[in-house]
């Protein structure tokens, strides 16, 4: 780290001609990526990425999530457009079906004489 010792011990580097400096830009927005595999019937969430706009998001998704022939179609959605359920509302949202076995077909006994069920 010869160059580091020349610029002090604060870990800062002298700006070099080839090193592009980062302007004070806002970070790129986040996008959620959905990939439909060649045998899949629907798009499945694959992950997320940053991109400046929708067109670049599709291209970045191609680079990040279809490198190994995973897909035949891509969707990108602004992460901000997704409305998620509240994790703290787990009780009221997801625990109500518990104990309600009658919502499952297996709860019911087969009626006599029914052959193909």
């Amino acid at each position: 780290m010869v160059s580091g010792s020349q610029t002090g011990d604060d870990g800062s580097k002298a700006p070099s001609a080839e090193q592009p400096d980062h302007p004070t830009a806002e970070p790129w927005p986040l996008w959620e990526v959905f990939v439909r595999s060649s045998r899949g019937l629907s798009h499945v969430h694959a992950g997320s990425l940053h991109a400046p706009d929708a067109e670049m998001a599709v291209r970045n998704a191609r680079d990040l999530y279809t490198r190994r022939n995973e897909g035949v179609s891509l969707w990108v959605v602004p992460a901000s457009a997704i409305i998620a359920s509240d994790p703290d509302a787990k009780g009221q949202f997801f625990e109500s079906p518990q104990g309600k076995d009658y919502r499952h077909a297996t709860y019911y006994t087969k009626s006599e004489g029914v052959k193909h069920l």
Partner: protein
């Protein structure tokens, strides 16, 4: 392909031509065809080496991956072209990539130009990808079946490189004052090296029907760039052309440094594998 090389994550490898297939085919090109393949391969190899520098340095992680992908595509093309060229002189792709000196490389000056900032790299990408796209689009009809097959695989990949560069030219040119200033500067620094790509010489003229005459690609290049620049509100700069000479092995001061970094490991440890 041996099973030990198979990637656990690969879903389908596809059936595109690979350098290993070319090596196994044993088809021996004439010296002239080998020389021509060397030019195409060296352009791709030196460009890939330059682009690789961006990994971990691009403006965003996503662009690290995008430029890295493009570099790897170019490495793939270089491997195919150099494998085929090597058959003319009983050399392997590694012999050609790692054990040739500066004056034996046949790449154009454009690909050895410094990366500069992101905009300058995009300007270089714009030029080389448009050139390679037009070139490979025509090379698929080459009378040489191996060159045609390599081009058929490469043209789809280069089409994406071209799209990537064009998208960024539009965004940088029509973005902020600073991004526009950098895009214009990048184009100015790149344009002196455009002319060399389209120069004919004895070799390509002698390979009628096999090679694509570089001069025949110029009209399409100019039309595509003009249309894009009009959309991006840019002008084609009127700058003097560089001296050129890359196809004859005369290079700028940059190539030596690129080769030193690219070749040092192979030369320090000849025959090493890992």
């Amino acid at each position: 392909m041996s099973e030990s090389n198979a990637s656990a994550t690969r879903i389908t490898p596809g059936n595109a031509l690979r350098p290993e297939d070319i090596a196994a085919s044993g088809v021996k090109p004439t010296g002239a065809v080998g020389e021509y393949a060397l030019r195409l391969g060296d352009d791709a190899l030196i460009l890939a080496q330059r682009l690789g520098w961006w990994i971990s340095r691009a403006p965003e992680l996503e662009e690290d991956v995008a430029l890295g992908n493009i570099a790897l595509d170019q490495i793939g093309h270089a491997r195919s072209f150099l494998t085929y060229a090597g058959h003319a002189w009983d050399k392997t792709e590694d012999d050609l990539a790692y054990f040739r000196g500066e004056d034996e490389f046949r790449s154009a000056h454009l690909v050895e130009q410094p990366n500069g900032d992101f905009a300058r790299t995009i300007a270089r990408q714009l030029v080389i990808s448009q050139y390679q796209y037009d070139l490979y689009s025509r090379l698929v009809n080459s009378a040489d079946a191996t060159l045609a097959a390599i081009a058929a695989k490469a043209v789809k990949e280069v089409d994406y490189h071209r799209d990537h560069a064009r998208q960024w030219v539009l965004r940088l040119a029509l973005g902020t004052d600073e991004s526009r200033r950098r895009m214009i500067e990048g184009i100015l620094l790149t344009w002196p090296y455009v002319g060399e790509l389209f120069e004919d010489d004895e070799l390509v003229t002698s390979l009628d029907g096999v090679a694509v005459k570089p001069s025949s690609l110029r009209a399409s290049f100019d039309a595509e760039i003009e249309a894009l620049f009009s959309e991006a509100e840019l002008e084609v700069p009127d700058v003097p052309a560089s001296v050129g000479g890359g196809r004859q092995g005369r290079h700028s001061e940059h190539l030596g440094y690129i080769l030193a970094e690219m070749q040092v490991l192979a030369r320090e440890h000849p025959g090493a594998t890992w």
